[in-house]
Amino acid sequence: MKKWVFGAATAAMLSLSAGTASADVVKIGLIADFTGAFATWGVQFQQAIQAYQTVKGNKVKGPDGKEHEIQFVYRDNASAGPDKTKQLAEELVLREKVKMLAGFDLSPHAMAVADIANQAKIPVVIMNAATASITRGSPYYVRVSMTIPQHVVPLAQWAWKNDIKKVYMITSDYAPGHDASNFFGKTFQALGGQIVGNDKSPITETNYGVYMEKVLQAKPDALYMFQPAGAPSVALVKAFAERGLKAAGIKLLGTGETQEIFMDQFTDDLIGTVTSFHYTETNKNPQNVALRAQLTKQFGAKAAPDIASVAAWDGTDLIHQAVAALGPDAEGLKYIDFMKTAKIDSPRGPVSIDPVERDVIQNIYIRRVEKRDGKLNNFDIETIPMVKDPWKIENPPKS
């Protein structure tokens, strides 16, 4: 919260000083939750954007040879839902005259600005909001984050290839959880695998003892979890070890539960868990090393990158590139056309934007949790190159 206020104050000061500077200012409106239940998203977005602009500078040289300063104007959605998002977007477009919108942690927030983007004809760079269908909502949407099926389908394929024949699924009872169990189940069964149990746990569940007893009785080769980060996933992993599933040789599979930013909450019981994800914090890409070093330098030893950070880093890169190529006053769809073909040198690895869907195509990494130098983290064991969102392959665009 304090950091956000400070950030806003800095932004205000910058905009004052911009009047006297020779470079003109291109404003980008960033909407995310900086307070309330989803506050970490906003904080992680903002830190990564500031880190990027510190490392690479906040000015780009346009096609006219003039310098343009890219300035993010932050707005707090306050975990208050899509109505608030709409209101903030209108304010940013009308009063702040932003040239693009960016951010959006939750899917309903991203969906809420489609009309505004269409009317104002400005690009919307989505930095999280993972519901597969979102990018079809407006020609002005570009997504640099991920979709749930993008993680889940490669995981099911990996499991089948690695001698896992029977899987029990415990997924959280909300829309992304339904996507996860649906895509994991059908991919695994199509390969010949067997789903021996499919439980939906309430989104706030922290008492997994009973679920684990059922898993023990079903004797699967692996347990696939899709649980909200934090209390539910920590409790599930704890019960998994306590009830002897780990000792019984059952493998634990997941996706985003084991991100480095949550590692403090887990015990060594997590070691050996295999997850699939589009970003592994320990990878050695130069961009990742730069991002990590800058976050630590700027925000202290506890600052760790997550998917919000890499998406914000890449989204900022995309915006800088677009202004450098087309200047500050191009038409919205011109920016979009540029972004479709832009190359992003991402901390996560190779990333491209699908020119038809305006959605991200990227490597998916299969990782195992290990303890190295006394700390738990994810380490890549396999890379599945350039995965396109399976939902879009299944649901081709109507022409």
């Binding site: 009973v210 920590v234 000792a247 949550f262 909450q265």
Partner: protein, 289 residues
């Protein structure tokens, strides 16, 4: 099958013990003072955070538990004198508004101090391992919950049934005006009971942290559970809240096992039926019958 039934029962009882420890203070204060204290869960949350704070820094687990009971107890006492006492004569709406306000204050305070993420308690190594209980191995932590819960319930039972404090407490719950009239210092009794209730909530929040993880939204998330225990047990009834906590723990656990898709609603259906059957709760104190 038998060993499985025993497992479900143990799971239900250990969960019930956590609900009991946290709710028992609420049941007595609600029965005694007729204050709808929605902020009760916040004291449990604070207990959990304190235990987390000390255990994560390597302090002895039992020392951490003691601090996790004492600080919420003291906070509870201060709140009783300053915030709750003026409320006793106000209507229920004022009580609900003020206590829900306290919940928001507590939520914001722990977010500011400890951050927005869940804040785990580090239990000693021997509690995180499965132990052999004869017919199967079972999580040591759950055994610990059942043992501690049973000991505290037994102590409370004895105190309420046999001590002079217990006699006064029962008298004041049954008829506060009469108790005052015979010269009992009911105010002091209220404060004392409030302190003990909050301390028990803090302790429950700390040892129950393995099931109900401390996090900023803790109070809002679980307040309904705690209120259900109180209402089903009968306001002001210590034994009732014990029976209710056990029953709800077991019903919830069995529901998750046998009819998983309906489990989130089953608890509420059970509460609905129980209250149709006994509107005053399972074991209401004499004043209510």
């Amino acid at each position: 099958m038998l060993s499985f039934a025993a497992t479900v029962l143990l799971d239900g009882v250990s969960y019930g013990m956590v609900l009991f420890l946290i709710s028992v203070g609420l049941t007595i204060t609600m029965g005694l003072m007729r204050v709808v204290n929605l902020a009760h869960g916040s004291f449990a949350m604070i207990g959990g955070y304190i235990a987390g704070y000390f255990t994560q820094r390597g302090y002895n687990f039992y020392v951490a538990l003691a601090v996790a009971a004492i600080i919420p107890g003291i906070l509870g006492g201060l709140c009783e004198v300053t915030v709750y006492r003026p409320l006793y004569r106000k209507g229920e709406l004022s009580q609900v508004l003020l206590t829900i306000g306290l919940v928001f204050v507590a939520t914001a305070a722990v977010t500011e101090i400890f951050g927005a993420f869940p804040y785990p308690v580090k239990f000693p190594e021997y509690l995180t391992r499965p132990i052999d209980i004869g017919f199967r191995t079972y999580p040591g932590y759950r055994v610990f919950l059942i043992v501690v819960g049973a000991i505290i319930a037994a102590i409370l039972w004895w105190v309420i049934d046999n001590s002079i404090y217990g006699a006064r407490l029962r008298a004041a719950v049954d008829n506060a005006r009469m108790a005052r009239a015979v010269g009992m210092n009911v105010n002091l009794l209220f404060t004392g009971t409030f302190v003990v209730g909050c301390a028990l909530a803090g302790l429950g929040g700390a040892i129950g942290a393995g099931i109900l993880t401390p996090e900023p939204s803790y109070s809002l998330k679980y307040v309904v559970l705690f209120l259900i225990v109180v209402i089903v047990g009968g306001e002001g009834s210590f034994k009732g809240s014990f029976v209710a906590a056990m029953a709800l723990g077991i019903i919830d656990t069995m529901g998750k096992y046998f009819i998983a898709p309906a489990a989130p609603y089953l608890l509420y259906v059970a509460v609905f039926l129980l209250l149709l059957w006994r509107p005053q709760g399972l074991l209401p104190p004499k004043s209510a019958t």
